[in-house]
Amino acid sequence: MISLRDKARLMMNIYCFGRNLVTTAASYLPPVQLPTQREVHFWYILPDEVKSTTLLNRYLEILSPCEKENIFRMRGEQLRKGALLARALVRTTLARYQTNFQIDPKSLKFMKNNYGKPELDWQYADDWSLPHLHFNISHTSSLIACGVTVGSPIGIDVEEKQRRLKNDILAFAQRFFSPHEIEMLTHIADPELRLQEFIKLWTLKESYVKAIGRGFSASPFKTFTIRLRDHHVKGDIHAPPLITSKAPDITVVEASDDVKNPSNNWQFVLLELAGSHYAAICIEQNSVNTGNGRIPINLTLRKTIPYVEDECISATDSAVVIGGLTRLSD
């Protein structure tokens, strides 16, 4: 008797092998299990890997008229392709979470909250009941990502590691970052290292603001501090296994908080993806402080090309957790 989970896994593997069957598999999206509490599903697509015009047209078919219009209004093929892939990624991914029967990705309706943050519109979920899925998207020209949770606001941000700043890093930090962060960056002498730390901080700060969902102006970057601090696991028998205990702990402190007591509601993960990008994830958790430790986030990474293939990425060269208490599942 195969369990439901194993059955899903089997189907997933078969799907993964059928990578050349674009035309026949064009309408099939294997269902996936919902994220549990404290679990994040992080899906991403590399635009350079999607070349087939047939496939891109297939993606266009599932978009709403409004989304299509927005895309056609853009100037530049790469820009249009990026926008198309982002919408296709969100729609196909969210549609897969209904395990009872297939949902047409085209039928999903989206709306924006009072501050412009995109969300699933639950009003239209008539026939099927999708539990409260939260999602957030981030793009760069070379990687587009979508993070999904159940019952917890989520914010993600992705940046290229090789990204250059037009302005001087410290001048930029002084204008936009908090005093602690400026100090931290100032202490880094090597300009390359300083740039890397800057980008990590930027992605973490963006992910926090996007998780809160009230826009840049409601949580100005200067008013909160993100800290990455190595925590020492002193052979604590209560520490769960499979933790990348070398990854520094990440905390956020609002200006109004005491620096020693960071806000415990938000948890972060910082990843290095495909050797080329930093990705930050922020979710809201009512974390229970188990003595010195915190409960880790379960993270599932999937590189995907909707309707073609998924690749489950575990802790390999493709993904390295560089911050935050995380358990990478395979």
Partner: protein, 128 residues
């Protein structure tokens, strides 16, 4: 009782006496100075919109990432120029340097096209 209109005392004109204000008392001198300075500031300080547009456009064209041929007064940072959130913040910083004043975060949030940048700067008296 309808009184005839012609019997009502109507004022056909009113003569008002206007006295010139004495110009030499310190109080009036001071207030004149204040008033004069304020007017000059207001009159002289809003930049001309077409000048602002040119300066904003050249600021944005300076960005390596941007394709200069796409930069026109109607260009949207994200949809037309392919800029992301970090780029937009960098642009805000470049505009602050160009025009010599600080753009508050809650306004910076909304500046995501050339037109919005121009409108904002042209209506700000502190822009130089």
């Amino acid at each position: 009782m309808a009184a005839s209109r012609s019997t009502l005392p109507l004022m056909k004109y009113l003569r008002v006496r206007v006295d010139a204000l004495p110009r030499n008392t310190p109080l009036t001198l001071a207030s004149n100075l204040l008033i004069r300075r304020f007017s000059e500031e207001v009159r002289g300080c809003f930049l001309d919109k077409s000048e602002v547009t040119d300066r904003v456009i050249s600021c944005v064209k300076n960005f390596q990432k941007v394709d200069p041929s796409k930069v026109n007064p109607n260009a949207h940072f994200q949809n037309d120029l392919g800029l992301d959130s970090l780029d937009s913040v960098e642009i805000v910083m470049a505009l602050e340097e160009e025009f010599g004043f600080e753009i508050p975060d809650n306004e910076a949030d909304k500046i995501n096209s050339i037109k919005l940048a121009v409108d904002f700067i042209a209506s700000h008296p502190q822009a130089k």
